[in-house]
């Protein structure tokens, strides 16, 4: 007898979900001994269940790690007052003080060292080597790239930044897997002195090994060898940042 006629989908689901009482469970187990069709059906259902579990979103997609409890109203008022006073003082500062070049204050010693080393040079040139897909580390590199890109306006000095990704870092520029697509698109549209470059050798290795064609985020350029590009830039005197 076909299992389709005797056992409903709901019942088999309840079996694999551990929702049956011992009697019902025993009934299915007994039938399983002589029914290959039922065994196949259950195996497929179990595999499907495992696939769904495996597709569970990763926790690293959770942007805020903690719930924000509302402050009491009194502190709301105090915060509002503080913001108002701060805004007034800031406005007053810009009214009273003469317009001078905006100071560059960064809490990043590597960047500060790079900026200082270019003090007497007409142009700031930095190559950023992305060799890992570690989300936090990549965010730091993208922050550094953005800081540098902004200097163009702040210092009135030409700035060129190349972000070169290879190996595990290539994921950062992949259309299908990057966690930084939106950020890269924003940076690319906002700053024309940032250049994103992917390593073709890594792309070819993925194609060869896994028969997977790598598509890059629109606007990301590619070059034969990411390592060669980084080496060349360093020889040309570009500053170097990496993870």
């Amino acid at each position: 007898m076909s299992t389709n006629e005797t056992l409903s989908d709901e019942l088999l689901n309840a079996f694999i979900d551990g929702e049956l009482d011992p009697t019902e469970r025993g009934m299915i187990l007994a039938q399983l001994e002589n029914d290959n069709e039922l065994a196949g059906r259950l195996n497929e259902s179990r595999y499907l269940k495992e696939l769904v579990l495996a597709a569970k979103p990763a926790d690293n997609k959770i942007t805020n790690k903690h719930v924000k409890f509302p402050a009491n109203k009194r502190s709301h008022y105090l915060s509002a007052a503080a913001i108002l006073i701060l805004s007034l003082l800031t406005g007053l500062y810009f009214l009273v003080m003469p317009v001078t070049q905006e100071p560059i204050v960064l809490a990043d010693s590597k960047l500060n060292a790079i900026i200082e080393s270019h003090a007497n040079k007409p142009e700031i040139k930095v190559v950023i080597h992305i060799t890992s897909n570690d989300q936090q580390a990549v965010n730091v590199l993208l922050d550094q790239a953005e800081h540098l890109a902004r200097l163009n306006h702040k210092l009135g000095k030409a700035v060129r930044v190349e972000l070169v990704a290879n190996g595990k870092g290539l994921t950062v520029f992949r259309q299908d897997r990057s966690l930084h697509k939106a950020r890269i698109n924003t940076l690319r549209n906002k700053y024309d002195n940032l250049l994103f470059i992917a390593c073709e050798q890594t792309m070819q290795r993925i194609l060869k090994t896994h028969n997977k064609h790598v598509s890059l985020i629109p606007g990301v350029a590619s070059i034969k060898s990411g390592n060669d590009e980084v080496t060349l830039r360093r020889k040309q005197g570009w500053s170097y940042l990496t993870i």
Partner: protein, 186 residues
């Protein structure tokens, strides 16, 4: 409820908000929200739970109660904004090496795409039961449904998923996918 009980319940909900936070976020992601939307939804859920803690009838079912609040928020969200993303946008678990596990990632991408093609009712039940390991009764309470409805929608959802993933299922009679924390089938 006495004032003391009120305070206790409110404190327990505040504590639960902290501990359930990642779970609420993850559930919202699995329902198709972007990470920002998931964050908003979890935040809104916690705030409503704190506001309406007196409506909690069964303190032992606090978690299901909060998921039911999130379900209502999500429905409103869908109605108001119509902004949902595919599960494809969520990062895949496992090693980040692009040259590792590409086959497995490809399977998971197909699974996520298939899940995102289910209707909202089926997707919610499937994700709570299969991803969060909730029982049928807990799922029914969380989504304000009868257990029978949960069972029939789950069956329809799984059948639809089976159809969408037919090539994947048939080519993996001996699956070796790294499912990591696969719950043992009872």
């Amino acid at each position: 409820m006495t004032a003391s009980n009120n305070n206790n319940t409110k404190r327990r909900i505040a504590n639960l908000c902290e501990t359930i936070w990642p779970k609420l976020n993850r559930i919202a992601l699995s329902w198709g929200c972007s990470s920002e939307q998931a964050n908003d939804l979890a935040q809104e859920t916690c705030m409503i739970a704190l506001d309406k803690f007196q409506q909690l009838r069964k303190p032992e079912a606090m978690e299901s109660w909060m998921i039911s609040i999130m379900n209502n928020c999500h429905k409103r969200y869908l109605r108001d904004r119509r902004e949902v993303t595919s599960l494809d946008d969520n990062p895949l678990p496992g090693p980040d090496d692009p040259e590792n596990n590409i086959d497995q990632q490809s399977i998971l991408t197909r699974v996520r795409r298939a899940i995102s093609q289910l209707n909202d009712d089926q997707r919610k039940i499937l994700t709570l039961v299969d991803m969060e390991g909730m029982s049928y009764i807990e799922t029914a309470n969380a989504l304000d449904l009868k257990v029978g409805t949960v069972m029939s929608r789950l069956a329809r959802g799984r059948n639809r998923l089976r159809t969408l993933l037919k090539p994947t299922l048939s080519s993996n009679s001996n699956p070796d996918i790294n499912t990591g924390v696969v719950r043992k089938i009872k």
